[in-house]
Symmetry: C2
Subunit: 344 residues, 2 copies
């Protein structure tokens, strides 16, 4: 059983995935699987993954057979397990709980080598609606306080399978970075009765210097205090705290925004590896008492997407200190990205 | 002039080093310099670095000439600049200040290819005393609230020059990770009138399962909630908040502890890249009003060293979410490290 452990110094929960314990010799360089090799996420290999939880099928086809355009399966090597109780306990100064959660894979397309920037907008909208459906379902489980949605692209961004896929991890705790955001949002709302993110987005749209894509409904910009070169922040312009509330029409517009943003980034930076993270509201149905500290969450928080191309090697030091040196001002990054010509 | 910018969402200061602005094409893979190539840190190349700030010379030799065993110079490409005023200002919701600070390089040995684990303890003690001397000197500057001391080893840990060296960056702000530690330490002290770190160290020594090196005066252990495989925490067993107070005798014992720890790590993990970070008390002489929030700092904080071998590829995602999945339980990591035989 994996374990969640809390560090009283860094005030951070960590998953200790002891069931897939790795010995020193297992830390050899892992090479991202090449397209010529066998791929468990390709059509006709559906029996090589756990059975599908959900699939988008345009015509008639049986579950766990070809014919899907988006497919969700449980992770074969889950970081957290769905069965059991949270079971909290102390270990002296430390805190632990069972590694309860869910770990799912969203296979975004049957096409093994399709970059997200090259998906038709209508197809990416299906992926974005699939995220919504899985989030709504996972948040019915009152044990889960949060669901992380993320995507690694490229070997040095942590992708171990090349086939386009995202991951969802549902958990009984909050990741620290989200907790900090929620506190900032709460304090801002408490003083001003305005959403911090709405204020930041309005200021960015007014300044314009860091904006990369703006279609009136969604905006992508390089944050004022970007932690790494070409970091990008993508959000709905109108207030919306919960990604689960996104409409079907908005998934189409979000898909267009994401495709244009990724297209510009790929062209400017020669197809860089990247990490994409959705920062969404925690599960308000969760039984965690933690939510009591955030009474205005629906008015104060604003979901968004962070994209970080992996261009510099020093992430480990920055990760260990929280201290970032960014050699590319975001105004310059946004300017480069805006100058990229889009395909006709 | 570099700039410090504050993000109101992540509550984090970032250095935007605009003077060394990098264009998209400059993010090509940089290869760590090989020993056959020219090295500005090797003896006889002293004129290829800025003039020395301090050097340890065992016999008689002129400044900026060979004969040194440890040498400190300004970074030729500093992230922060020493001249000028802090000059704080608002930019709408954002905060900025001038990039005032100092950025120094400690060249640890004349020997281009000596691993820190292979330095004689007496030599590493000189390096550790050099850190102390530079910290004492930099903290005379009341503009500086904090000095980060760190070392990158290996290309994928961010080292761009192979010659053994550490870096010091003095700055008018606190890195976020240190701020979180100081808050945890303050709250623990406020409730219990005990140092959180002393309590953690005592619990680790009592349990023993995660301890790797213990010589009575210094201890190295794998933290209970290790964020990455084989993460290590090294600290004095007796309370000491400020690294500047370390005695000469203790630098010898710390050198022995560090050498044994790194020797075990290198042998177990086949010479991995790693990041080493010193977490020390902030500058109590700083004029920052921030210090008023931490009245018990000398009793509540405890300096320490974090070592993170770079074994997994996913640091970027974890850096962006604050959410860590560690496949190696620290008890297992400590056991592997303890089993390594030391040289006779």
């Amino acid at each position: 059983m994996p374990e969640l452990r809390h560090d009283p110094i860094q005030r951070q929960w960590v998953i200790i995935a002891s069931e897939r314990a790795r010995r020193p010799s297992e830390f050899e360089v892992t090479v991202t699987q090449q397209s010529a090799e066998f791929c468990p996420f390709c059509p006709c290999n559906e029996d090589k993954t756990p059975p599908e939880i959900l699939a988008v099928r345009d015509g008639y086809s049986a579950p766990n057979s070809p014919g899907w355009s988006v497919r969700v399966v449980a992770n074969k090597y889950p970081a957290l397990r769905i069965e059991g109780d949270v079971d909290r306990s102390a270990e002296g100064l430390y805190d632990r709980m069972n590694g309860i959660g869910a770990h799912e894979i969203v296979i975004e397309t049957p096409d093994h080598s399709r970059h997200m920037a090259d998906l038709p907008p209508a197809h990416l909208a299906k992926v974005l609606r699939t995220f919504r459906e899985r989030l709504v379902d996972l948040m019915r489980d009152i044990r889960f306080l949060y669901v992380v949605v993320f995507r690694n692209y490229g070997e040095s961004a942590g992708a171990t399978l090349a086939h386009p896929h995202s991951q969802l991890i549902a958990m009984p705790i909050l990741p620290r970075v989200v907790e900090i955001e929620l506190r900032s949002a709460r304090d801002h709302y408490h003083h001003r009765e305005r959403c911090l993110f709405c204020d930041v987005i309005r200021q960015e749209l007014d300044a314009g210097t860091r904006v990369v894509v703006d279609n009136g409904r969604f905006v992508a910009f390089a944050p004022y205090a970007s932690r790494s070169p070409f970091e990008l922040f993508l959000a709905p312009v109108q207030h919306q705290h919960d990604y689960c509330q996104i409409t079907d029409d908005d998934t189409e517009l979000l898909a267009q925004t994401l495709i244009e943003t990724l297209y510009r980034m790929r062209a400017a930076l020669n197809d860089p590896p990247f990490n994409l993270m959705m920062h969404i509201a925690p599960n308000l149905k969760s039984r965690s008492i933690w939510l009591q500290d955030f009474p205005y969450l629906a008015d104060a928080y604003h979901w968004h997407i962070e994209i970080i191309p992996r261009l510099t090697k020093s992430a480990g030091f920055e990760w260990g200190t929280g201290f970032h040196i960014n050699p590319t001002p975001p105004e310059l990054a946004a300017d480069y990205l805006r100058r990229i010509s889009l395909p006709a």
